[in-house]
Amino acid sequence: MAGNAVGLGNFLRFPRQAAANGGGSFMITYFIALILLGIPLMWIEWGVGRHGGQYRKGHLPGMFAALWKHPLAKYMGVVGLIVPMCVMIYYTYIESWTAAYAWFSLTKDYWGITTQEGMLEYLRSFQAIRTEGGQVYHHTYTPYLFFLGTLAINIWVLSKGISGGIEKLAKIGMPILFLLAIILAIVVITLPPQPGIGASPMQGLEFIYKPDFSRVDEPGVWLASAGQIFFTLSVGMGSLQAYASYLSKKDDLVLNGIATAATNETAEVVLGGTIAIPAAVTFFGVAGAMAIAQGGSFDLGFATMPVVFQQLPLGNLLGVAWFGLLFFAGITSSVSMLTPVVAFFREEFGFKREQTAWILGGICLVFGMMHVHWLQYGFLDEWDYWAGTFGLVIVAVFEVIVFMWLFSPKKAWDSLHMGADVRIPSIFKFVMTYVTPLYLLFILGWWGWTDAIPILLNKKMASGAPVVAENIPYITLSRGIIVLFAIVFLVFVRTAWKRNGYDDRKGFIEVDQSGGV
């Protein structure tokens, strides 16, 4: 589970979110979100998943229907299919960047580029974004090749059902990634101030940790921190529930849930926060780091770390190891994202795993290519905003309402403690019943009014940048595809319920843990 949670969110998305949302202001809201949203939702998701597993349901529509005997329940669960599908598509594309940068490190392709402008130009060149007068380092087909390869590996892993093998490999790979991250963090912290910049790594840490309340009144900062907590813990994605559906009543959800969250947070706060931002501030200054962060959801790590590697002995091999392990960590996460979707088609339509995986792979290929092709028009940022941030919050709102309110707080609390040797502090019963849902609804309302509506009306881009008229058709198409996914999954869920003769008011029959009915 920790292998699933630790991924690109820790080392690539977190630094960018922190830098783009005010550093210290972001961290204050981040920790509030961790305690009031992340940890409670981690337990809730494991609880929802294990309860669904008792009825042989590995997907959110089925899990919700098992918890709340109402026709609406299954439709609320549809968000648990749309979000992982959308996120997996663009996540795989980002994952392919890590594979590409591992290759570029090995071949020392970026060696000699040490300025902010140069590294961004290099990154844009790889992304096939051509600017007037900009230097071209790569063929336009390069990002397509890496994306195709990465997607093929993901789908192959999923189709062969060898994600168990990947998880076993993760038990070796994750400690190596942690070790490498510790080494890099030490290297970054001891970097000398760079000529012409004058900033030190400590200024990077100061930027992140200086208690700063100047942007705490911005709803976008609260949503960004909540979105990051969800993304990094894989909460609101549907995958934790799918994995938890295989747990028995004897398993300790409480302790496993907190261990997963804590491991991920150590990777993110202690290591993720000590590498990319201090390095970016050292080489490009605070303003430069923030400018890179505003440029794209995942750019900071790719524009910064190659500069660090060039300063180190055997830096290219360290680069291969770093980006290679990130690629590996990404695969464990992206494969898990399609797990609930595969579970849905296997359980409700009797599809074979391999067949489902390759069909989904074809869909990912078509829409993933759009991300590769139209990245410069904000196509990916739009999905990261609506699916990777807003969508996760919606899933969380629905599941906390269904589990804690409709299933009832007492039954939910008892369900979480089945097989647990550790008790959740009683205060969290109040938090999970009232604070978490109200917190979620409050930020959704506040953020919706001040941030989402202007974005929806094209008054600003999802990345926060001003809207360029040329981008609007691509942004509209990007949103249209998410709506299309929603319609298609709603139809599939309706068809599945009719086909299998489920009665919404009666629910499902509980099955025992050994596989019998």
Binding site: K210, P211, N256
Partner: protein, 51 residues
């Protein structure tokens, strides 16, 4: 670094590291660790029935 930043950083690190060490200590000692491998059951799940 300012005193405020040092204190905030120390608090953050102690919190996440403390939680990690505590939870893994309990997991190792209670021997209740269960890490689902993500491959699902050996055979396709049995279709659920309605009552």
């Amino acid at each position: 670094m300012s005193t405020g930043a040092i204190l905030f950083m120390a608090f953050s690190w102690i919190f996440v590291l403390g939680l990690t060490f505590w939870s893994f200590y309990r997991l190792m000692n209670l021997q209740k660790h269960h890490d689902p491998d993500g491959i699902g059951p050996a055979v396709p799940p049995v279709k659920a029935r309605t009552e």
